[in-house]
């Protein structure tokens, strides 16, 4: 499980230079259905975690997402 790369991978998906724990996911310009699919794919391939579109709607910030993935991917 590649956790050190979480912020880098997420920044690439969100199409920004870097992301921080307090950043709100839905406020990114690139926040759309394809971006959500990319995060769902990241959860599956790097964290062996099944996230649904609904799950993702309930996750507010980058930090919350990280917690969710790390909790599930243990």
């Amino acid at each position: 499980m590649e956790k050190t790369g979480f912020y880098e991978a997420l920044a690439e998906i969100l199409e920004v230079e870097k992301v921080g724990d307090a950043d709100v996911l839905r406020e990114f310009d690139a926040w759309d259905s394809l971006t959500k699919l990319s995060i769902i794919a990241l959860a599956d391939s790097d964290y062996r975690t099944v996230l649904t579109a609904k799950d993702l709607d309930g996750i507010a910030t980058v930090g919350d997402l990280k917690d969710r993935l790390e909790k599930n991917g243990q």
Partner: protein, 257 residues
């Protein structure tokens, strides 16, 4: 060819390998082929699922041979060993595969290569190993690759998967010509969305609106694994003896628009 009496897709006396047989389309195909009288080597990396499939087959003499197809270099020796105890095969159905719903920006090269390895390279390795005289029975040869309609129509977030299945379609046509004089036909089936565990995984990323939209694109609704199994059985049976090099679309109308 079929003078009445027996089932038009009669496969009695025939032997096949089915990959991906622990689940979904592979499992339904194994069940279908066994009901048509064939004897089977069922393979998958999921051992419990494989055993469950074996328990549901009709007839006797079927065996399970678990194998991780990512070990492409070992396919020939594995298949040779399996056939040394089971006997030779008339063909195989390659249903093992992995989904990949991911926009390009989230798709790393490692993941892309893994998808191509499991879905396409393994098909090449199986077809290469199959012609060995230890493996191929020498007559009524037929290979069926389970491709996808995503190899034929574009869709966002499908680049890796579409590449892997497109490679299978191209392999199908090239091999059909290369293997014709060996009496081996080579075809692919390109399913639309079929209700299997893979479908559940793929559709996890959809909201209700997306699900309705995708379902509406299938004029006949989502498919069942048996719909694909029936097509695979036809392509193995003698009824399809003049069909080779084709990609048979079985998609409830998905690609008709």
């Amino acid at each position: 060819m079929n003078d009445g009496g027996e089932h038009p897709l009669d496969l009695r006396g025939r032997s096949y390998l089915v990959t991906g047989a622990a689940s979904g389309i592979g499992r339904a195909t194994a069940v279908r082929l066994s009901r048509l009288g064939a004897r089977l080597i069922c393979s998958d990396l999921e051992v419990p699922g494989l055993e469950e499939t074996l328990g549901g087959l009709r007839g006797s003499g079927h065996i399970a041979r678990p194998f991780d197809l990512r070990n492409v270099d070992a396919v020939a020796s594995w298949l040779g060993e399996a056939c040394s105890s089971f006997g030779q095969l008339n063909g195989f159905v390659h249903a093992a595969g992995v989904p990949c719903v991911c926009p390009v920006k989230g798709l790393g090269l490692d993941r892309l290569r893994e998808v191509i390895l499991v879905n396409a390279e393994s098909g090449f390795a199986l077809a290469k190993a199959f012609v060995n005289p230890r493996t191929f029975a020498g007559s009524q040869g037929s290979i069926v690759f389970i491709s996808s309609v995503m190899s034929l129509v574009g869709s966002a977030a499908s680049a890796g998967y579409a590449m892997s299945k497109g490679a299978l379609n191209s392999l199908t046509r090239a091999l059909a010509l290369e293997y014709a004089n060996r009496k081996i036909r080579v075809n692919a089936v390109a399913p639309g969305f079929v209700k299997t565990p893979m479908f559940d995984k793929t559709s996890a990323g959809w909201d209700d609106e997306q699900r309705r939209r995708v379902e509406a694109l299938h004029a006949l609704g989502f498919g069942e694994p048996e719909d694909i199994a029936n097509a695979a059985a036809f392509l193995l049976a003698d009824e399809s003896r003049w069909i080779t090099g084709t990609v048979m679309v079985v998609d409830g109308g998905y690609s008709a628009q």
